[in-house]
C-alpha cells in the first residue's frame, strides 16, 4: 500500500487490524501519543488531508492514498507553525504529553469553532493545566518573560523542554527505538480473592512468538510494598512481584513475554489458571467487622501490618485534652459524616517502561516519579548491587502521585533478567483503572464544638480509609488526612481514631494531596457549620481559630516529628486575599430565575516535605564551553521543577538560564534523590541545587581570586564572566585555565528535607445551582496561595489552576465505580469523565507576599495543595446556596437533584425554575 506521511511517500503494509496510531509510531513518529487508545483523549490526533482525526480509531489501511500529517510534519524546526509558537509563548502545557494532539487540533480550528472552545476542544484532554494557558495560546497571549543575567529566580521563564514539547520531539517513556524488543502482557485475575492452584503454561507457550511465561514460581519469594518512600517503615511488606494469592480483580497473575504484543495478548488468553475462589469483601466497614474474609492472614506487625486478622493495615488513636466534656460544655456543636469517593490520577501517559541488560547492568527506563527509590527496591528484590541497576526517566507524561509507586518496574526487571532480552511493558488505559492505584476513599465522622466567641473547643475525627487489596501508602495517607487538617486549628481538645482497611479492591495509593482533600472535606465543612450556628462569617470563624507563628501545630497522637516550623506564614494573607476577591463586583450572571446562589471557602495547610527525611543531591560543574552542567535526581512530570532548578542555579551563579544545562532523574548520574513527591521538587531538591550552585560560585571566585591575586570577596559573577575590580575573565577562559592546572571546577549540594515549613491555600467559590436539574455553575473561583517567594509565577499559577481543575473533576464528575464483586465498572475515559475545556471555570490566582526562611531563595512547595481545599469550598458554597449540606462527593446532578427537590418540597415550593 502507498502512504504519504509528512510529505514523504512510501510503500508499506500495516497489519490487518492495526490502527493508524501504532502504524505511525512504528515508523518513528513518536509525537503521536497514546493517552487512551480509545478515541477519548485526543493525544494521538493527526491530520488526514488537513483534517484532524484521532489516529487510534483509524484503521491504518484507510490512510492509504491520503496525506497524513503528524506533529513532526506540521512545520520545520527552524520555522515553527504559528500555533506551536503560540503554545510556547503562552506556555500552554505542563507535562506536555497531550500537547502535540492539542496543537494539531487547535491549528485546525476555524473561526466559528474558536468561538466555542468548550465544544471544539471536547475531544482533547489536558490533565495538567486546567486549560487557561491553552486558551491563552489560542488568544495569542504571551506569558513568558525574558530577564537579565542573575535575575531568573522569581520570574516567569519558560520550561526548557518547551521547544521539543511543541514539536512532538520531547522523549517520553516509550519514545525510543530498541532493537530486538520483547513485549510483555500481563494475565490478570478475574476474581477478587482466590488462590492459584496451578498454572498451565503450555498453551500460552505454544503461541508462535511467545518466548516466556513468568508466574509466581519465577518471582522472588520476597515481600515489598509498591509504595516508594525514603523510609521503608512507612509501608507494609505485603506484596509479591507475582503471588499465588490474588486479592483484587486485575491483580497480575503471569507475565507473557513475546516477540509481538499480539502474541503476548494471545498468550494471556490461552494461559490456563486454576483458581480456588475465596470469599471476598469490598466494603471497608464489612472488612473490619468480625468474620470478614481476611486478606493478609500471615502478615504481622513486623511486616508493618497493624492487625491482619481484622484487615487493619494501619491505625492511629489519640486524644489531647477531653473532647467529650468539651463538647458537652460547648455553646455550639456539630456532628457529621462525610464520604469521599474513589478517583484516578489519569495521567495521560500510562505506567510502563523498558528494561534491558547492558554490560551486566540492568537498565530500566520507566514512567516514574521515583527512579532512585525504584532502583533501591529492584536491588533488594533481585539481590543486585545498587551499581548493577540503573533506573531513569526522561519526560514523564503526568504523575500526580500515581508514579510514586513501583507497579511495572518489578516485572520489567524480572522479564529482562529471565530472558536476557530488552523488554517493554506499556499498560493500557483499562489497566490503569483496574490495576494501578487510586485515591483512598474515606468516611470521616467529625464532632466539633465552639464557644460563644467562636473559639473551637473540640475537634474529633473518626476516619475509615479503604486502602484496597494492598497497603501501599495506607498509613501515611491516613495520618496525613488527619494531620494538617487538625493541626491548622488551635483547639484545646482534639481526638483521632483512624483506621485503614484492606478490601478486595484495586489498591489505593499516593494521589495529589495525600489524604488531605479527604480530611479537609469533613473538617472545613464542620468549621463552616459552626460558623453558621454562631452567625460568624466563614472568614472570621477561621481567623479566630487558625494557628499563627508560634502556635503549636498539633494533632493526636503525637507522631514524634517536631521539625515543622513556620519558615514563613501567609495564611492570614490568603484569607484576606480571597475575602477581598469575593467582595469585588462581578458582572451580572444572567442566570434564569430560580437558581440558587451561594459562596463558600475552605483553607488548607500542608507541610512542605513528608516526614522523616527526604533527600536530594545536586552537582554542578563548569563546562568546557563556559556554561554549566547541573545534575539533579528529581524527575520532571509537568511539575515545572526543571525550569525552577535552572532559575535557582542561574541566579546563584549570576548568569542566565540558557547557560545551565540540566541533567536529571537518572541513577547513573550518582548521588541520591528520594523522588519527586510530597511537593518536594522545589523545596528539597531546589535547596540542593541552590547549595551546589552557591558552592560553585565560591569555588569559582576563589579560583579566580587566587589566579589574579585578589581577595575572593572582591570578585563577582556577572553573566558569562567573573569580574574582579577592572579585570573580567569569562567562564570559558576560567575553565581553560583550570584545565591547564588539571582542575575541574565543580561543586555539590544536598538537602535532607528537614526542618520543614508549612504552605497554605484558601479557595473561594461562588456557585449557582438549579434545583430543577441539579446543575451547578461556578460563577467565581479564586484561590490564594502562600508559596513563599514564588520561584516562577507563571508556572506556579499553572500548578494552582491545574490543581483546582483536577479537584473539580473529582468533586463534580469523576468516579470509579466498583461493583460488589470488586470489578471496576468504568475503566475508560468515556465512562470516567475527566474535566474538558468546557468543564473548568477560570480561577483567579493570588499569591501571599511571604518569603520562607527554609525553602530555596524563599520558595515553598505548591503542587499538591491547590487541590486540597476545592471540594470542601465547593461543598460550603452549595450549602450556602441551597441550604443543604451535601456530605458525599461527587456532587453530580443526579445526586443533588433529589435532595434539592426534597428541600423545595419541605419549603412548599413546587414552582420549579427553568
Amino acid at each position: 500500500m502507498n502512504f504519504e506521511i509528512n510529505g514523504k511517500s512510501f510503500t508499506q503494509t500495516p497489519r490487518a487490524g492495526q490502527c493508524l496510531r501504532t502504524f505511525l509510531r512504528e515508523l518513528g513518529h513518536f509525537g503521536v501519543k497514546k493517552g487512551c487508545d480509545a478515541g477519548d483523549c485526543g493525544a494521538c490526533s493527526v491530520m488526514i488531508d488537513g483534517e484532524p482525526v484521532h489516529s487510534c480509531l483509524i484503521p491504518a489501511f484507510r490512510a492509504e492514498g491520503h496525506a497524513v500529517t503528524t506533529i513532526e510534519g506540521l512545520a520545520s524546526k527552524e520555522a515553527p507553525h504559528p500555533m506551536q509558537q503560540a503554545f510556547l509563548e503562552a506556555q500552554a502545557f505542563q507535562c506536555g504529553f497531550c500537547t502535540a494532539g492539542m496543537i494539531l487540533t487547535c491549528a485546525s480550528l476555524n473561526q466559528a469553532q474558536r468561538q466555542d472552545l468548550g465544544v471544539a476542544l471536547k475531544g482533547n484532554i489536558c490533565r495538567c493545566t486546567g486549560y487557561r494557558a491553552i486558551e491563552d495560546a489560542l488568544d495569542g497571549r504571551t506569558n513568558i518573560e525574558s530577564v537579565a543575567p542573575g535575575e531568573a529566580f522569581g520570574r516567569s521563564l519558560p520550561a526548557p523542554a518547551g521547544p521539543e514539547v511543541v514539536r512532538g520531539a520531547a522523549r517520553y517513556t516509550f519514545d525510543v527505538e530498541i532493537e530486538g524488543l520483547l513485549h510483555i502482557k500481563l494475565a490478570r485475575s478475574p476474581y477478587p480473592h482466590a488462590r492459584i492452584r496451578a498454572i498451565d503454561k503450555a498453551s500460552a507457550l505454544a503461541v508462535p512468538g511467545v518466548r516466556a511465561v513468568l508466574t509466581h514460581a519465577d518471582a522472588p519469594d520476597r515481600l515489598f510494598s509498591t509504595a516508594r518512600h525514603e523510609r521503608a517503615w512507612m509501608d507494609p511488606d505485603d506484596t509479591r512481584v507475582l503471588d499465588d494469592v490474588v486479592r483484587f480483580v486485575g491483580q497480575k497473575v503471569a507475565a507473557i513475554i513475546a516477540e509481538t504484543e499480539a502474541a503476548a495478548e494471545e498468550g494471556c488468553r490461552r494461559l490456563k489458571v486454576d483458581y480456588e475462589i475465596w470469599p471476598h469483601v469490598v466494603d471497608p466497614e464489612a472488612a473490619i467487622a468480625s468474620g470478614a474474609p481476611v486478606l493478609h492472614p500471615d502478615r504481622r506487625v513486623e511486616n508493618r501490618v497493624a492487625n491482619a486478622a481484622r484487615n487493619i493495615v494501619a491505625e492511629a488513636h489519640g486524644e489531647y485534652g477531653d473532647v467529650a466534656s468539651a463538647l458537652a460544655q460547648s455553646a455550639v456543636t456539630y456532628e457529621g459524616t462525610f464520604t469521599t469517593h474513589r478517583v484516578q490520577h489519569a495521567a495521560l501517559e500510562t505506567h510502563g517502561g523498558l528494561a534491558w541488560i547492558d554490560e551486566g547492568v540492568l537498565n530500566v527506563r520507566s514512567s516514574t516519579q521515583v527512579p532512585f527509590l525504584t532502583r533501591r527496591a529492584l536491588s533488594e528484590l533481585f539481590d543486585l548491587p545498587p551499581d548493577k541497576v540503573r533506573v531513569f526517566c526522561e519526560c514523564v507524561g503526568g504523575g500526580f502521585g500515581g508514579k510514586q509507586e513501583m507497579l511495572v518496574e518489578d516485572i520489567l526487571a524480572l522479564a529482562a533478567l529471565k530472558t536476557g532480552r530488552p523488554v517493554k511493558l506499556e499498560l493500557t488505559r483499562e489497566e490503569q483503572f483496574i490495576a494501578t492505584s487510586t485515591r483512598h476513599p474515606m468516611r470521616v465522622t467529625v464532632r466539633a464544638g465552639a464557644d460563644e466567641n467562636g473559639k473551637l473547643t473540640a475537634l474529633q475525627l473518626d476516619v475509615l480509609s479503604n486502602t484496597g487489596a494492598y497497603g501501599n501508602h495506607a498509613g501515611p495517607v491516613l495520618f496525613h488526612a488527619c494531620a494538617e487538617s487538625l493541626g491548622v486549628y488551635n483547639c484545646p481538645n482534639k481526638k483521632v481514631d483512624a483506621v485503614a482497611a484492606y478490601t478486595n479492591t484495586v489498591p489505593a495509593g499516593a494521589f495529589r494531596g495525600y489524604g488531605l482533600p479527604q480530611g479537609q472535606f469533613a473538617v472545613e465543612a464542620t468549621i463552616d457549620e459552626l460558623a453558621r450556628q454562631l452567625g460568624l462569617s466563614p472568614f472570621e470563624m477561621r481567623r479566630r481559630n487558625i494557628v499563627r507563628p508560634g502556635d503549636p501545630m498539633l494533632w493526636p497522637p503525637d507522631n514524634g516529628y517536631h521539625d515543622v516550623l513556620y519558615g514563613s506564614y501567609g495564611l492570614d494573607q490568603c484569607l484576606d486575599l480571597v475575602e477581598r476577591a469575593m467582595q469585588a463586583a462581578t458582572p451580572a450572571t444572567g442566570l434564569p430565575p430560580g437558581w440558587l446562589v451561594g459562596e463558600g471557602i475552605a483553607l488548607t495547610m500542608i507541610d512542605t516535605v513528608p516526614p522523616d527525611g527526604h533527600i536530594a543531591d545536586a552537582t554542578i560543574a563548569l563546562r568546557d564551553d563556559g556554561g554549566f552542567e547541573l545534575v539533579v535526581g528529581t524527575a520532571e512530570f509537568g511539575n515545572g521543577t526543571s525550569t525552577v532548578h535552572r532559575q535557582i542555579a542561574a541566579t546563584a551563579l549570576g548568569t542566565s538560564v540558557d547557560q545551565i544545562r540540566l541533567k536529571q532523574s537518572d541513577t547513573a548520574h550518582g548521588g541520591h534523590d528520594t523522588g519527586a513527591y510530597g511537593s518536594t521538587g522545589t523545596f528539597v531538591a531546589g535547596r540542593a541545587t541552590q547549595a551546589a550552585a552557591e558552592n560553585l560560585s565560591i569555588e569559582l571566585k576563589t579560583f579566580v581570586a587566587a589566579a589574579i591575586g585578589v581577595e575572593a570577596d572582591a570578585c563577582v559573577l556577572d553573566s558569562d564572566s567573573i569580574v574582579c575590580g577592572d579585570k573580567r575573565l569569562t567562564f570559558a577562559q576560567i575553565v581553560r585555565s583550570a584545565r591547564a592546572q588539571g582542575r575541574r571546577l565543580a561543586a555539590s549540594g544536598s538537602s535532607a528535607g528537614t526542618p520543614r515549613s508549612v504552605a497554605f491555600n484558601v479557595q473561594g467559590f461562588r456557585v449557582a445551582v438549579n434545583p430543577g436539574t441539579g446543575e451547578i455553575r461556578i460563577l467565581k473561583s479564586v484561590q490564594a496561595a502562600d508559596a513563599g517567594r514564588v520561584a516562577n509565577p507563571m508556572q506556579c499559577r499553572g500548578q494552582v489552576e491545574g490543581g483546582v481543575a483536577q479537584a473539580l473533576g473529582a468533586a463534580l464528575y469523576e468516579e470509579m465505580v466498583i461493583d460488589t464483586d470488586g470489578r471496576v465498572v468504568n475503566p475508560r475515559f468515556r465512562d470516567y469523565h475527566l474535566p474538558s475545556f468546557a468543564d473548568v471555570p477560570r480561577t483567579e490566582v493570588l499569591f501571599a507576599d511571604t518569603s520562607d526562611t527554609l525553602g530555596p531563595m524563599g520558595a515553598k512547595s505548591m503542587s499538591e495543595s491547590p487541590y486540597n481545599p476545592v471540594a470542601a469550598a465547593l461543598g460550603n458554597a452549595l450549602r450556602d446556596a441551597a441550604g443543604i449540606r451535601f456530605t458525599a462527593t461527587p456532587f453530580k446532578r443526579d445526586r443533588l437533584y433529589p435532595l434539592l427537590q426534597a428541600k423545595l418540597a419541605a419549603q412548599g415550593k413546587d414552582q420549579l425554575p427553568r
Binding site: R15, A16, G17, Q18, C19, R21, T22, D37, A38, G39, D40, G42, S45, E51, P52, V53, H54, C56, L57, I58, P59, F61, R62, T105, Q113, G118, V119, A120, L121, K122, G123, N124, E261, A262, E265, E266, T428, T773, G774, L812, Y813, E815, V817, V825, N826, R828, R830, D831, H833, S836, A838, D839, K892, R893, D894, R895, Y897, P898, Q901, L912
Partner: protein, 272 residues
C-alpha cells in the same frame, strides 16, 4: 487501538462481493467504536467504504441517508428551505459525546447499530419517522428506526444483516421541531434527549431518547396540555424503561424527561 485478532479485511466494491457472513466477522463502517475497545472475538472486518454508497440523497420523497454517511457529512447538508426540521440535524450532531474530530469518521449507520440509548442519530431519525433498510442475504427488509433499536446496545439485526440506509420522509422534514438535551456534564453524554415535532395539521409527537433504553414515540392529536403530556409520559414509560448507568440515575432521567418534555411543549405551543 490495534485489533490484534483481526487477520483479514474484506473490501467488497458491490453488493455481489459481500462475503458470506461467518462467525468472527464484523461490518466496518467508520470504525470509531470498533477500534475503541478490544474485539477479541473478531477475526475479519468487512469494510463498507469501498461500496461507495452515496452519503446523502435528496429526492421529492425525502432524504436518504446511507449507513456509511459520516456525521460531518450529515451536519454539512444544505437542506431545502422548506425543511423546517433542518436545525434538528445540527442539534443532534452536536449532542454527540465525541468531538468534531470523530464526526469525520463516525457514521450515522454505526450510531444506529451501536444502539446506545444516547445515540443522537437514533434520536434524530426516530423523531423524523426514519425507516431503516436492512440488507439480508438475498433480500432486504424495512423497519422504523424506533423499532430498529430494541434496548441498550440491542437492535433487530441478526448476524449477517446489514443496515443499508435510513430514509426520512419529506413530510417529517417539513415539521417544526423542538430539541432539549441534558447530561451530567456540560458537553457530556446525553442522559435525556427529547424532540418534539408538530405536523401541519396540528398533530404533535414527542420522541424520548437517551433517558430510556430505547426510543419512545408519544403521538398526540394536538399539542397537549401540561397535565396530559405528563400523564402520557408516566403512563407510557414505566420506571423500568428508564436507562440506568453511570451517565445518570433512572429517577433523575425520569424527572429530566418530564421537565424537558414540558419545555418542548411550551416551545411548540408558543410558536404554534
Amino acid at each position: 487501538m490495534d485489533l490484534n485478532t483481526i487477520t483479514a479485511i474484506a473490501r467488497p466494491r458491490m453488493r455481489d462481493e459481500l462475503p458470506p457472513w461467518t462467525t468472527g466477522d464484523a461490518w466496518l463502517a467508520g470504525g470509531t467504536w470498533l477500534f475503541s475497545e478490544p474485539q477479541v472475538h473478531l477475526n475479519r472486518l468487512i469494510d463498507l467504504a469501498a461500496l461507495k454508497w452515496p452519503a446523502l440523497t435528496i429526492t421529492t420523497k425525502g432524504l436518504s441517508i446511507a449507513a456509511t454517511c459520516t456525521i460531518a457529512e450529515l451536519d454539512a447538508l444544505a437542506c431545502p428551505p422548506d425543511w423546517l426540521a433542518a436545525p434538528l440535524i445540527n442539534q443532534c450532531c452536536r449532542a454527540f459525546l465525541a468531538s468534531f474530530k470523530i464526526w469525520k469518521t463516525a457514521t450515522v449507520g454505526g450510531n444506529l447499530c451501536m444502539s446506545l440509548p444516547a445515540g443522537p442519530m437514533i434520536s434524530l431519525t426516530a423523531a423524523l419517522d426514519g425507516v431503516c433498510t436492512i440488507w439480508r442475504p438475498g433480500g432486504e427488509r424495512q423497519i422504523g428506526v424506533a423499532d430498529f433499536v430494541s434496548g441498550d446496545q440491542r437492535n433487530v439485526l441478526v448476524p449477517g444483516e446489514l443496515l443499508r440506509q435510513i430514509d426520512i420522509p419529506v413530510a417529517a422534514l417539513r415539521r417544526r421541531t423542538a430539541f432539549r438535551q441534558i447530561s451530567l456534564t456540560p458537553v457530556g453524554r446525553s442522559a435525556a434527549l427529547l424532540i418534539g415535532s408538530v405536523y401541519d395539521d396540528g398533530r404533535f409527537v414527542l420522541t424520548v431518547t437517551a433517558s430510556t433504553r430505547r426510543p419512545i414515540r408519544l403521538p398526540f392529536s394536538r399539542i397537549p396540555q401540561a397535565a396530559e403530556l405528563r400523564e402520557a409520559i408516566l403512563q407510557r414509560i414505566p420506571d423500568g424503561l428508564y436507562h440506568d448507568d453511570l451517565h445518570g440515575k433512572p429517577d433523575w432521567r425520569k424527572a429530566m424527561t418530564l421537565r424537558l418534555a414540558e419545555e418542548i411543549r411550551v416551545e411548540c405551543a408558543g410558536t404554534a
